[in-house]
């Protein structure tokens, strides 16, 4: 059992989830707060990682944010090293890759908050920030949890982006899914089965509580 790869994968998923929640919350709040072509365009861009092959994403990160391009060189100045072959590079790639998995549940959750409650709070003198913190966020808590868990598990299973960008460095970019791929390539099927089982169990354990919670959520319209 490749504990180094397991620990690295968990660290990557945790860092990505935390960063993603920081980005997704204001983004989803803005998208959910209105309509219009700008919001529609933003939602489209956010949804792109769902349809783009992960290898394409990884490839563009490798080439377009590499040392040969101006944005890449800027990034190198910022990070102190190129995006590729580093843990921070993987975090950037994972944030983009799992973005829709965090943003979309949040948008749905925010939109489901009864607008009457929001308006009542506003008429009672609450600022938009106060309304968001005290009314919207607590009522949307299930979708916050869903967003975080999905972002986390999606990153645990990430392969294409890591393959294109990682360089397979033990302790820095050799995640569990890469280790699994290598084990298969080495015809080490016993190890591959163990790694695959671990990933599978992990995903099931993470997802079951989400769906259990959904079924007991009395605020659900269809319950």
């Amino acid at each position: 059992m490749d504990f180094q790869a397991l620990w690295l994968t968990l660290r990557l998923a945790l860092s990505t989830t935390l960063l993603l929640m920081l980005i997704a919350l204001p983004l989803a709040r803005w998208i959910a707060s209105g309509n219009g072509p700008l919001r529609a365009l933003t939602q489209t861009l956010v949804a792109l990682p769902l349809v783009l092959p992960p290898t394409v994403l990884g490839y563009y990160l490798l080439v377009l944010l590499g040392p040969l391009t101006a944005p890449g060189r800027m990034l190198i100045r910022l990070l102190g090293h190129p995006l590729a072959f580093s843990f921070s590079g993987l975090v950037v790639g994972s944030v983009l890759y799992s973005l829709p998995f965090a943003v979309q549940p949040l948008i749905a959750g925010f939109r489901a908050v009864p607008v009457g409650l929001v308006e009542t709070a506003a008429t009672l003198g609450a600022s938009p920030g106060r309304v968001f913190r005290s009314i919207t966020l607590p009522l949307a808590k299930p979708s916050l949890i869903t967003a975080a868990v999905l972002a986390f598990t999606h990153t645990v299973g990430e392969f294409g982006v890591v393959l294109m960008l990682g360089g397979n460095i033990p302790g820095a970019t050799r995640t569990l899914s890469i280790a699994l791929y290598d084990q298969v390539q080495d015809f080490n099927y016993a190890a591959a089965n163990r790694t695959a089982a671990l990933l599978l169990i992990f995903s099931v354990v993470a997802l079951v509580p989400i769906y259990l919670r959904r079924s007991s959520d009395t605020r659900s319209v269809l319950a």
């Binding site: 490798l62 080439v63 590499g66 040392p67 040969l68 890449g72 090293h81 190129p82 590729a84 072959f85 393959l163 360089g167 397979n168 460095i169 290598d182 298969v184 390539q185 080495d186 015809f187």
Partner: protein
């Protein structure tokens, strides 16, 4: 035909020449030798498997899927050190690796890519492996190794001569050969699949590839004749 990634720049010319000579059209898919061997052993239909070494076709033989008792050598590969033309490390010499003025060296995965194995063997022979190990980035196959260097993310790469001497890579960079004595011979071997309905045609192509005329021309593609 399933062919190793290092043959990607080579096969179009070879298959065109063969088609011109015989009228037979060849369909080629590329991948790392290890991936291709795995796929074949799990039932992928193929007529001919051209690998980048001996060990992967040998696995296919051991799985009783080849129609000969041993893999058939068709070429020898060579390892080179490659860098972009605009790299500050140019001109490349036999001392470039020793001097260590770079942060990342790309190699193919030594566990399952023949050129990766050769790269580690060469680094060990040069007594540089332990020192350079923290600077290594490992790619899935030799094509990705070259891509890491070409995109500028790695400053140097140990890649196949076939890739380095292809038109694209000649335009973008230059190489210096790693001495043959530094790594075990990369003996590229092939097997014809026992269950293929086109075994005769597959053998015909392999015989053509091993004929003196073609073997004499292999250096044009970055390969060397098999003795």
């Amino acid at each position: 035909m399933l062919a190793a990634a290092d043959l990607q720049p080579v096969m179009p010319s070879l298959t065109a020449a063969y088609e011109h000579a015989t009228g037979i059209h060849l369909n080629v898919s590329f991948g790392s030798s290890s991936t291709l061997a795995t796929q074949i052993m799990n039932g992928e239909p193929a007529d001919l498997f051209l690998a980048a070494d001996f060990s992967f076709p040998e696995k296919v033989v051991a799985a009783n899927l080849a129609d000969t008792p041993a893999p058939i050598a068709y070429a020898r590969g060579a390892l080179v050190l490659w860098a972009r033309k605009d790299s500050p490390l140019q001109p490349l010499t036999q001392n470039t690796l020793h001097d260590d003025h770079f942060s990342r060296l790309a190699i193919a995965n030594p566990d399952h890519a023949p050129y990766g194995r050769a790269a580690v063997a060469a680094l060990t022979w040069m007594k540089l492996y332990d020192r350079l190990k923290p600077q290594l980035v490992v790619a899935e196959n030799i094509a990705q190794t070259a891509q890491f260097v070409e995109s500028g993310n790695a400053q140097l790469g140990l890649i196949s001569l076939t890739l380095a001497s292809s038109e694209h890579f000649q335009q973008v960079g230059s190489f210096v050969r790693i001495p043959h004595t530094a790594y075990p011979e990369i003996r590229q071997c092939a097997v014809v699949m026992r269950n293929s309905p086109r075994r005769a045609e597959a053998h015909a192509f392999l015989d053509w590839l091993r004929s003196p005329a073609i073997q004499g021309n292999l250096t044009k593609y970055g390969l060397e004749a098999v003795k």
